[in-house]
């Protein structure tokens, strides 16, 4: 046991570990905040779709030889988020089909581009794997990445706090919100943009395949047990941050991949909360 703490202490002195912890906690916090809204609006898959778009965008950035791909990836993902939201209203291609289409399309094109324009990298499948599962990138963050993440997280949290009541209103009943003069269209647009930002930032932590888990699991767990929007939101945020910390420490100590370990912790908490929910319901 002492060995364990010694190892942990050893790692905690390393700046790259501190960076990973900061970024991990912030990402977990941001992704869980809007998770509640996404799950309730039946938009769970938008996170999945957008993360694949972000993957495609990263492939484009790689092909163009950009050293800093964040701005390009962020722009493309935000545009797609807005498009997906608009398409939801268009009757020709329904929301879920549109998401599935964009999602697998972007994945395929991204991999295709990386293959065709493979410039010298001998380990292509390794690169792709780390983009999809975020294996080690969180441990190789630059100072720029960390600051970018902190700034974007502050923006997301501020947005959420300032628009909390509006987010509740458009989530619970969009037609009532519209009818009583609330600017539901604008709020939906803002929500979509913020989700895109969260997705791009979280790719570093868990990779593009596992982001949905980070967004929806804490929300679903909290909904098993809590009964008001506020308590569900707060609980989801706490669950998400705790799971991220558990996952990060476990992966440091046991050498497991970061993203999958965090998601495994999320799944365990979901199972636990489902059990608690079932028990309290029976006793009530």
């Amino acid at each position: 046991m002492n060995d364990l703490f010694a190892t942990l202490g050893f790692y905690l002195e390393k700046p790259f570990v501190i960076n990973a912890l900061i970024v991990g906690v912030l990402i977990a916090l941001c992704s869980s905040l809007l998770g509640v809204t996404l799950v309730l609006k039946r938009y769970s898959f938008i996170g999945d779709g957008l993360s694949h778009v972000a993957f495609g965008a990263m492939a484009i950035a790689a092909v163009l030889g950009l050293t800093n791909d964040m701005p390009l990836v962020l722009t493309i993902t935000v545009v797609c988020a807005v498009l997906l939201l608009r398409m939801g209203k268009n009757a020709k291609i329904k929301g879920d089909a549109a998401i599935a289409m964009i999602s697998v399309g972007a994945l395929a094109i991204g991999y295709l581009l990386m293959n065709i324009f493979n410039t010298g990298s001998s380990n292509l499948s390794g690169d792709v794997c780390s983009t999809l599962f975020g294996s080690t990138s969180i441990l190789t963050l630059s100072t720029f990445d960390v600051w970018m993440c902190i700034i974007l997280s502050v923006i997301v949290v501020l947005f959420f706090v300032l628009f909390y009541n509006k987010i509740f209103s458009v989530t619970f009943d969009e037609s009532f919100a519209r009818a009583t003069g609330q600017r539901a269209g604008l709020y939906n647009l803002l929500i979509a943009i913020v989700i895109a930002v969260i997705i791009v930032v979280s790719m570093q932590l868990v990779g593009s395949l596992l982001i949905s888990a980070l967004v929806i699991f804490p929300a679903l767990s909290a909904m098993r047990v809590f009964k008001s929007f506020k308590s569900v939101t707060i609980c989801a945020a706490i669950v998400s941050v705790v799971c991220a910390l558990i996952g990060l420490f476990t992966s440091i100590l046991a050498g497991t991949p970061v993203g999958s370990t965090i998601v495994a912790a999320d799944i365990a908490v979901f199972a636990l909360f489902s059990l608690i929910g079932a028990v309290t319901k029976r006793n009530a």
Binding site: L40, K41, R42, V161, L162, F163, Y164, N165, K166, F168, S169, T171, F172, D173, S175, F176, A177, R178, A179, T180, G181, Q182, M223, F226, K227, S228, F229, K230, S231, V232
Partner: protein, 244 residues
Amino acid sequence: MSQIKCTDLTLGYGAQEIVTGLSFEVNAGDYLCIVGENGSGKSTLMKTLLGLTKPLSGSITFGDGVTARSIGYLPQQTDVQRDFPASVREIVLSGCLGRDGFRPFYSKADKALAARSMERMNITDLSRRCYRELSGGQQQRVLLARALCATEKLLLLDEPVAGLDPKVTAEMYELIESLNKHDGVTVIMISHDIANSLPYASHILHIGSDIFFGTRQEYLDKTHLDQAHLDKTRFAQKEGTDRE
């Protein structure tokens, strides 16, 4: 001056006209019941009144302190709401948002208004309960309380008794009537339950292939429905409520 005046409205989507030549007006204190078969354009008319869709032609003018934004709206329940984790208080408060603009938090006045609305709907003791665990009738009261936060003058109710059992239906009608009679709130109600909603209405708008607008008595005369029969229905409903 009337609160809502519609002149020669044509309703529909794109090139498809659903209703043409629709004219009616609603005055303060009226209880207007909009009836018609499924697909006759009731929902479209409602969306148009709320400003969610534009009429193809014709005009809607608001007056007497009512604007398109100050209509209290009771929508039909959606799937999303059935398993929504929200407390009653959170939902009722959200009715105040329309007038708040970009102000991020609720004011004291908002909270007082929400408390008053819950009081009127008799759901104060439920305010901390979870919405999805309430009965259908209680949920409708919550949504009605929210609508009252958005308006002082005019309520628009979309099938307010859909899916409720007969006893709760009768209670709901009584509640709406007391808002109309005692608080002077104008009521516009969409219903396919003509027989049960008619006794409460002061005016009827029937849309469909033939359009009718007039007082309840005129409607009864025209359709030869028996006033005595309606009174009997109403009496039976009341009895049902009292007995419980």
